[in-house]
Symmetry: C2
Subunit: 104 residues, 2 copies
DNA sequence: ACTTACCGTAAGTCATGGCTTACGCAAGAG
DNA sequence: CTCTTGCGTAAGCCATGACTTACGGTAAGT
């Protein structure tokens, strides 16, 4: 999660949306140097969001559905509870004029 | 997205999973001071992930489904493409011994 | 009206980490 | 074998931001 905090790293990640790419390929069009991209990819890899595969002298990176799925799952965990809480909120404001039952 | 980067801030956010809470309520049980929590909530609020409502002298915070939904949507955008790319990957490795069509 | 409690804001310090330049290494081409 | 190309790693500088202490304002209770 914290791996996607940095804007540049997000852009790197977004570049991988349309399929696998080599490092120089990603760096091209980004306002940062190639080593920087390499480091970002390392972080993303450690986070389980991307995976790499050596291809001759190049190194091809691609999005790892595993880690992405885990992130999605973690987020959904909130989605349910937040919705339920918001539901309760709505009901609460419905009886606003009354609203003096019990508090804490 | 970067708002959820900090571990402490994530813990604050998680405290809101089971419904609205006041600031002191959240700070209790966390290893940081109350003002720190207040700042974290401010960041989360600016990110659209939480909303607040004054309740007497207290201030109650709760998760905002709006921002959470946006985040979910952004993540799903990857989910599809990544899956498709991964699909192509699988097919590619199927004909591994061959695999010299054209790249770049 | 005064006191108390709670919350938000400001200032200052310190740690985290992102970026660049420089270097070393591996792989393919001539 | 040598030259070239592409990638990763290390060191150093600098910016971002997280945390604490201190202060001011507002609302409730006596």
């Amino acid at each position: 999660m914290s791996a996607l905090a940095d804007p540049t790293r997000r852009r790197v990640f977004e570049r991988l949306k349309d399929g696998p790419h080599a490092v120089a390929e990603i760096a091209r069009g980004l306002p940062v140097s190639r080593p920087a991209v390499s480091q970002h990819l390392k972080v993303l890899k450690e986070a389980g969001l991307v995976a790499d595969r050596p291809e001759g002298t190049r190194r091809v990176y691609y999005i790892d559905p595993q880690g992405l799925g885990a992130l999605r799952k973690w987020l959904d965990q909130f989605w349910d509870d937040a919705l339920a809480a918001f539901q309760a909120e709505a009901e609460r404001s419905a009886k606003d004029t009354q609203g003096r039952t019990d508090e804490r």
